[in-house]
Symmetry: C3
């Protein structure tokens, strides 16, 4: 296992003090885990999905997450309205393009909305390559490409959209089109619990609401998850206790004591 | 931490013996946790959401829960039909008005359905104040008002609707419009795991199906959750193990031994 | 507790080597747990629900699961399209007829789709009896009939549809219409955590994608779950830690060491 980067305590402290209200329009599978990951880090999650309300709430929230994992036609409407609300109110919004490339409906949808100034995009290597139009994507939700091989696509996508692009895997790579940051550490077990990537996208959205350099803030957010993964892997008895330990590690991160 | 009220073992025993079948039409985020909380206490959850089936099943179930956390137009139809089925069959139904006040679609919907004889309404202070028409509500799902400040709104709402109104927070306050009960204990960690409030509303619905004084039964139900929260907080390593411990504590409540 | 059948290590090894990609169109309550159970055993879950994409993805996946627990009209469309995609691509598909019998919409739907060559059907005794047209079903999701009493219905259904029919309960009974297999073990706690049956149906779907005798493969899959249930029950402090332990036991099954 690689040694995790030192924890960015300044960003962790900002995260907890600001407690960003993150409006998540995300897939059916990861709703609860995403909310609990945000809560463990000190953010405030809210899932609001009716189209009118999605537009209304995106203007109140500190950040909006759009995750297309279980996209439907009606959900696509809510996402369009949410993005409109976010843009009108200057709320940052983040795209998680789950399984883009191989599936037509979501691929068209993602190609449309990346024209609307996402603040960040987080995906695995296959998703980022597919979103940049450079290949056909992975098989389902798993990446079949390496993170490093996706870096040129990530940089192109960042320049085209203005977003920070985050390619996650064994080592995360982040870019604003010019600068590149890498985040090491974590555990392979994170790929064997559903929703760790989706939840990280929600953390990325929360990081976009913090003051300071957005690339550095998001890199710190990726670091929180990697470090929590390392800690949880060291203490787990299997995949069930690993997921529990991930939430424990995030809520106790930086020496915070969770008690009554 | 406040000392929890002594556990109401008579109601706990009735809860387990009757094992109420609770029809939950609830939000996407908390479905699994709500079901597991009901199961841990010995009740039987069922989520039936297609409009025709919702009406049909509400007549079979012992109680119906309506939670508007991720309300959509089609879900609103199912809820209307479920309430019709419940009223026709004399099945008690309970409203959890998540984030009412700040969001237009759900606010109109909640104002409509509280005319239809809910047996109980459970919310945080901001939600209860907003539902009573006395303010504009909180920000997202978190309360910005104190429980005590919501008591007049709760009493007014109870008298207008005929429901038991439950305002939950550091100390829960319950009223039927005349009598008031308070339930102490619990843990602040309960606010940092998604779905504890929503799941409590399902427990409140189950309590409405028990014989005896409904206000006392619901107060007992709130007490089960508070006591489980206290126990879990004392044993947890963070928010992940807290949620696990909450289910463990509920399933073992009153000295019950869970084994094969 | 009955002694579990010896673990079928040949099938376990095949399961992990093939890592079947299981397309799940399943109910809202169990999505995350289903995905994590599949991941714990080494399979790869994906939930794709938009009708066009459901058809497209069923052709890519190794198996398709159809679970009607929270069936809606739009979801029924996606399921029809998914089954068409599966049949066209020779992808095996599996039905979990949750609460069939008592509820009209899903009962009609299930009667329709069992004409379309399911590879397997997994349900409790009441569901299998109702699906075979022999009674009106249970009350909600719980079986009111014994597994043995459902065996004639299971055999009839297997002969009519060509599916392996799996009736689960204290002892699971499986039949292809001629042969019968029984799987013992497990724990009563499995009935008190939401989604164990639904997740088992996903495991059954994964088993349909393995080479070899399908009845034996599915019996082995039922055995994995029974054995994990026994192990988890022996170590749990209640229903929360039981669910965690179930995932731990599955991921460590057969002596596999989960670590980084």
């Amino acid at each position: 296992m690689l040694q995790p980067d030192p924890l960015n305590l300044v960003v962790l402290d900002a995260f907890r003090r600001h407690s960003p209200l993150v409006h998540c329009i995300t897939n059916d599978v990861v709703q609860s885990f995403t909310a609990n990951i945000l809560l463990a880090l000190g953010a405030s999650p809210a899932m609001v999905v009716e189209p009118d309300e999605a537009e209304q709430f995106a203007a109140i929230a500190d950040a909006l997450l759009i995750n297309v994992g279980t996209l439907t036609a009606i959900q696509a409407q809510a996402m369009h309205r949410g993005i409109e609300g976010a843009l009108a109110a200057n709320t940052p919004w983040v795209l998680d393009p789950v399984a883009v490339g191989g599936l037509t409906f979501r691929s068209h949808f993602c190609q449309q909305i990346i024209q609307q100034k996402p603040s960040a995009i987080r995906g695995n290597a296959s998703e980022i390559i597919a979103l940049a139009g450079l290949s056909g994507g992975g098989r389902g939700v798993d990446s079949t490409d390496s993170v490093v091989s996706a870096l040129p696509a990530a940089q192109m996508l960042a320049r085209q959209t203005g977003a920070i692009v985050v390619v996650t895997g064994e080592v995360d790579h982040l870019t604003d089109g010019e600068r590149i940051r890498t985040v090491k550490g974590g555990s392979v077990l994170m790929t064997r619990v559903v929703g760790t990537g989706c939840a990280l996208s929600a953390v990325v959205a929360a990081c976009c609401a913090l003051p300071g350099d957005r690339l550095e803030n998001i890199a710190a957010g990726c670091g929180f998850m990697k470090q929590a993964g390392s800690i949880a892997a060291g203490q787990s008895q299997g995949l069930g206790s690993f997921a529990v330990g991930l939430l424990d590690a995030l809520s106790g991160m930086g020496g915070r004591h969770e008690a009554d």
